[in-house]
Each structure stands twice: as C-alpha cells, then as structure tokens.
Amino acid sequence: MTVPRLSRCECAPKPRPVVARPAPARVLRLPDPLPLDGGGTLARVDVAYETYGELDGSASNAVLILHALTGDQHVASPHPLTGRPGWWERMVGPGRPVDPARHFVICANVLGGCSGTTGPACAHPDDGAPYAMRFPVITLRDMVRAQGALLDTLGIAKLRAVVGGSMGGMQALQWAAVYPERVAAAVAIATAARHSAQNIAFHEVGRQAIMADPRWRGGDYGGEPPAAGLAVARMAAHITYLSEAGLTEKFGRRLQDRDALRFGFDADFQVESYLRHQGLSFVERFDANSYLYITRAMDYFDLGQEHGGRLADAFRGAGAAGVRFCVVSFDSDWLYPTAESRAVVRALHAAGAPASFVELRSPFGHDAFLLENAELRAVVDGFLRAGER
C-alpha cells in the first residue's frame, strides 16, 4: 500500500513526489488561533486554497466553493499530484454557472483535511510529530470559521455566494447561519441540515473499519497507514453515494473477467471489483485520521440543535439580511433524501428567507451532484445571475 500523498504545510509523513508537477498550492497561515466549538483554540492553522478569476475593484464578486468529505481545493483545475481534472469542473469554469470570467472563485481545503490545510497529519507545534489523535475534534462550524478567517486575510468582506454539495452544502447552510451578513446567496445541493441516525451509522462503520486495522495503531501509523481499513471505509461509503438502480444498471450481476462463478472469495462480480478499486485508489489520496475527524464533524452537525432545537432560528439572521437560498435535491439520493432538503426549505420559509428548491431527477443517487446534469447547471446559473442583476 502506498503512503497517503499529502501536500504542503508541515505535514508528516513527508509527501512523496509521485508526479513531477509542481503544485501551485497556496497555503495561508491564519494570523490568529482558531477558536473551536469543542473548547479551546487551534494555533498555527494553515489553510490551503485555490482561486480562479479576478477579484473586482469593490471585492464584491467572490464565490466560495465548499468541498465534500473527500474533496479538496482543486475544484476547477487538475489535481497537482494525480493530474485528474478538478472535481467540479461541470459547475465551475468558463461558461459554467460559477465562471471565473465574472466571479472570483475560492475553494479551500477544510480544516482537518489532508490536502494542505491543517489536519491530523500535520505537525503538532509542540513537538513536530503529527497531531494524529491529538488533533482536536472539530465541527463544520469550525471549518466555516477557518474559511471566514481566510477571507478576512484575503480582504473579502462579503461573498456573492457560497456553493456546495453534500458536506459542502452543509457548510453553505452553516455559512448563512454563522455569517449572514457576509453572504448574499447560498446554494446547498444534495445535503441536509443535520446528520441522521443512518448517516451517523454509515460513518461509524467506516471509522470502525479504520480503527480495527492493526496498522492504525491508535492513529500513530506514521508512514504505514491503515490502508485496508480505510479502503473498506471508502467501499462502504461509496455504496451510499450510488443508488440501487444505478448499481444494477452499471453492474447487474455481471462477472469480472470470467465466464462462471469460481466458488471462492475473489472478486467474481464486477461490482466487487469496482468497489475494491474505489477503496484502493482512495487510500492513495486520503489520510485515514482525516477521514475519522471529518466524518466526526459531519456526524456532530445539527444546525437546528445549535439554535435551541429550531432550525428556523438558525436562519433568522439570514432572513433579516436577505440572504437568498437555492436548495437542490436528487430523487434517487437516499443518503441525503429530498425530505431533508424540504426541512431546510420549511425553516427558510419560517425565517422569511427567499428560497428556491427543486428536486431533480437522476438515477445516480447522491453522486448526482458531481455528475453532468444540464438542469442542475441551469438552475444554479439562473439563481446566481438573479443576484447579479
């Protein structure tokens, strides 16, 4: 198994140069310690980010893109190490709804991540060894505060929009709750205002798979990560990103490179082979401890609970500030089903915030937000342009 490829900051283990392509990684050290929901502060926080387009004279055209659980800051340009295209080039790029021709696009790796922003793989300031499990348990609100501090440093007082899907959508909602005066519009796609019991349950399976791997060693795995555990975690999670119909259409019961069952535990079926590949390729790009911390942050997410149990109260500030919302769900997404989006819309109505909501059709389950979807593009494009009139 390969070592997770970590970029920049003072992360350990040291990244291995896999592709000889210099990373134009931008890393900014936050000037102040970051206060955390769990108590205390985190000193010396680095935030790795990418930008596209130019900030206009009045610094009013900034759009913050928020990535999902295993995403990174390379939203619209090839990943510097893997060379793979940006993860949301369908939504961000020339002629796309978020367009560098008129927007200053920012995307930052989340707090706790493993793509350059301070996370458990980075060096602890005290001893230079990786934080590992000494990293504090963080929340999505902590991630949003780190992004807010990044924007402070970049001189951006107010965003034209925050846009994200899945965990990115949760952050978009959190942004509107934490900084209603700093956001003109929020786009939350395939997401929810809280993690359900089922969401938590799937994440717990993933975490237990990692921690059950003997190589995990209480988080102190150094250069020998718990690849098998992380791969299983990814396999289980990946199933939740798809749909039964999508899996059936893509794989059915078709066999992998063989004409008959082999009566063994090899990957007889294509779907097994596919999941194994997903698991193996994931461990090459993601840190196991980061996976523990970010899934934990998602499980702790409950925007209503943060506001006395009433989700509408989370959006009072946004309603008063006139923040516009666009909520999109997909009919085959059983991870964050339409009912979760409707709960958000109901709360937005109660808070008096202008809201748009549509459930789009797609056979691809939760992953639909990352895939080609002309209707999604049209909806987000029209929504953003309406705020630019």
Binding site: R324, C326, V327, R342, V345, R346, H349, A350, G352, P354, A355, S356, F357, V358, E359, L360, R361, E375, A378, V379, D381, G382, F383, R385, A386, G387, R389
Partner: protein, 195 residues
C-alpha cells in the same frame, strides 16, 4: 411578454413593491412580470419539477411543492398577496387551500374557469358528456381539474367561510365582461379575497 388574460388582471392589480406568493406558479411567467413591472418580491410554489427548474433558472424564488400539503410551511402573513391562478379546481381540498392562502396573506387573488359558462352548460346539455371547450380543453379522464366549480359556487363558499370577496373580474373569450349574469356569461373569473 404576453400574459394570460386572468394573469393580466392580477398583474394590473398587485401594488408596486408588494410581496406575493404565486401558488401553482408554473414556469414563473406571472412572477417574472410582477418582478419586472411591479418590482414585487415575487415567490412561488409549483408541483412540477421541470417548471420549477425553469422558474429558478429565470432567477425566481420558487420551491417545488404541493398546494394541498406544503402551504403549511409558510408562516402567517408571510406575504401581502397570495395568488392561485387556474389551480383551485385541481387541488384535493379547495376550501383548505383557500383558508391557507388567507392565513399566509391578508389578500388572495383566485382565478378559475367557470363551469356554469353558457357554452359549458350547452355542451353538457346537448351531448350529455363532460364538456371539452376552449377553457376546458382536456377530456374528463385526463384532466387535472378534479373540483370543477362555478362563479356561484365560489361566492357561496366565500360567504359560508366568512371571507370577503373584495373585487371580482370576469372574462369571456379573453375579454372582460360585466358582473351581471357572470355565472352564465363569464368563461373565467378572478376574485380578490380578503379575510
């Protein structure tokens, strides 16, 4: 932009800058007009996903939802005017939907095809079959109109529930006609209700 005549009546009578909620807003044609001509804070709810996408793509605040079920999500007095155009006859509980409109807004525009229009009566009398007319172009087995009503029916329900019909407009062949004999002569009716 050319609007359906009943929508034109509504658009002409929404005050400048008003907050409106169009229930069953389709692809947002009326809302777009109200936004551009009346500078209205225009919001909508629509059951059909493709229509919602089209409306949101026009930059309108429209949510996908069902008038029978999802109006409860709106707080009291959320807007100044609720609009229900050509939708009353399609909902499962017309009385409850009207009550919801007048909870969400102090005033509501309601337009509907008049089933007592003389051509409808004549078609029914002559053929003994559910009428298919210009205003009601779809056969009984595929029409969305599950609660056909007449001007007189509507007035009776409004009176029974203690609502006020503040104004009414009547249309025949896309032209305005008078209130006299409207239950015979009007193909479409538009009412402005108050609490």
């Amino acid at each position: 932009m050319s609007l359906r005549p009943d929508l034109r009546v509504i658009a002409d009578h929404v005050p400048r800058g008003a907050r409106v909620l169009d229930v069953g807003c389709g692809d947002g044609g009326l809302l777009a007009t109200l936004r551009s001509l009346r500078d209205a804070d225009a919001r909508g709810i629509e059951i059909d996903g493709a229509n919602v996408s089209a409306a949101v793509a026009r930059g309108l605040s429209v949510v996908q939802g069902d008038a029978d079920r999802d109006l409860a999500d709106y707080p009291n007095d959320a807007v100044d005017y609720a609009i229900l155009s050509q939708t009353l006859q399609t909902v499962r509980h017309p009385d409850r939907v009207l009550a919801e409109l007048l909870r969400i807004a102090p005033r509501a525009f309601v337009s509907f095809p008049n089933f007592a229009y003389w051509q409808v009566r004549w078609a029914l009398l002559r053929s003994g079959r559910m009428p298919v007319t210009a205003a009601l172009p779809v056969s009984w087995w595929e029409t969305a109109n599950i609660h056909q009503l007449t001007v007189a029916d509507f007035r009776a329900l409004v009176a029974e529930r203690g609502w006020r019909a503040e104004r009414a407009w009547f249309l025949t062949s896309d032209r305005r006609c008078g209130a006299r004999g409207a239950n015979w002569r009007a193909e479409h009716a538009v009412f402005l209700l108050g609490r």
